[in-house]
């Protein structure tokens, strides 16, 4: 139960951050792809810069979690085609709807209910990938 509350609180912080930083804003994402504002690049850049420090410190100093275990950071498999092709497909959808998978939930909560359509079709897209996976280049 304590852990459920922990994950729930982290989610709330994430949701507030997405709305308040405007990372979930369609306009901001449009502006980013037009290279007319530093805002989104600043957000991602600052998050990654601090993220590198956090992640590399965990690995270097073998830091322990809140629950006392050594933190494991799984390395993803060394693929080239899948992240590139999949990335392009996601990018097309991202620039069209302005929705990454995280902000979909955030924006529905914020009351932008047409995102429910995006969520349902994203589930359908994920399902289609699962079915087609054996036939796609990875």
């Amino acid at each position: 139960m304590k852990r459920v509350l922990l994950y729930f609180s982290i989610g709330i912080l994430f949701g507030i951050t997405m709305i308040k930083s405007e990372a979930a804003s369609w306009f901001r994402i449009y502006e980013m792809f037009q290279f007319k504002s530093f805002h989104m690049y600043g957000i991602i850049g600052a998050a990654v810069a601090l993220g590198v420090i956090i992640t590399q410190s965990i690995k270097r100093f073998k830091l322990r979690s809140f629950f006392g275990e050594e933190i494991q950071i799984p390395s993803k498999t060394k693929l080239v085609k899948a992240p590139l092709f999949g990335g392009v497909i996601f990018g097309l959808g991202w620039a069209l709807t302005g929705a990454c998978p995280g902000p979909i939930y955030v924006l529905i909560g914020a009351g932008y209910f047409p995102l429910l359509i995006v969520l349902v079709s994203a589930l359908l897209g994920t399902y289609c990938y699962g079915v087609l996976k054996p036939r796609l280049p990875h």
Binding site: R3, F27, T55, G87, I89, G93
Partner: protein, 212 residues
């Protein structure tokens, strides 16, 4: 000597009260106004930190796979044939995210949004997308009217499908690849982010003008 000393003491006290009040005022602005990038970016890093120290990963798109598995897609497709219960924590994060969105949009805003570059505002106006720099989201797509507009519905459905298909194919989205993956210095996350931008720029510059 004593009265002079007291006089200075009072002056300093008044000054401190003033500074304290103005700080509360600044904090109130911080709650109600949009955050600049140097607050938003580090806040995302805090989310990453909290999840890693809870022995979990920051990646929102895997929830879509978990939801498919929950709905029983594993019976027919190997990709969804796993014990989704071990990923319940991430669904709780997603529910929290929705609640966070509700809180921020209703109780932490004075209705103002960050300025959007004037060129972008004019460009969007000419494309029939109004409200840049005034509303948080374009009403054309994200107000309740969207449900009765077949073209908008089709665009939202198409975009959602691409997001769902693409993130799973790539093995992550902006959180899983761009934040977690790049922080872990993974080369494939860099390929994914390059892919995100190729796709995003294609849509933004060459396809959106025809689709809208």
């Amino acid at each position: 000597m004593a009265p002079v000393y007291k006089y200075f003491f009072n002056l300093i006290l008044i000054q401190y009260v003033f500074i304290y009040l103005s700080e509360i005022f600044l904090f109130m602005n911080f709650i109600s106004e949009p955050w600049p990038w140097y607050i938003g970016g580090p806040a995302i890093a805090v989310v990453l930190f909290l999840l890693l120290f809870s022995e979990k990963q920051f990646g929102m798109s895997s929830n879509l796979r978990t939801l498919c598995a929950m709905a029983g897609a594993g019976k027919k497709t190997v990709f969804f044939n796993f014990d989704w219960r071990q990923y319940r924590w991430n669904l709780i994060v997603a529910i929290g995210a929705a609640v966070g969105g509700l809180i921020a949009a209703n109780f932490m805003t004075d209705g103002s949004v960050g300025a959007i570059h004037q060129d972008v505002v004019l460009q969007l106006d000419s494309m029939g997308v109004y409200g840049a720099g005034e509303n948080y989201m374009p009403e054309t797509f994200f107000s309740a009217d969207a449900f009765s507009n077949p073209k908008t519905l089709a665009l939202l459905a198409l975009g959602g499908f691409l997001v769902g298909f693409g993130t799973r194919y790539a093995g992550g989205c902006t959180s899983g690849h761009a934040i977690s993956g790049l922080s872990n210095l993974q080369l494939q996350s860099l390929f994914a982010v390059i892919g995100f931008f190729i796709g995003g720029l294609l849509m933004n510059h060459f396809l959106l003008p025809y689709l809208l």
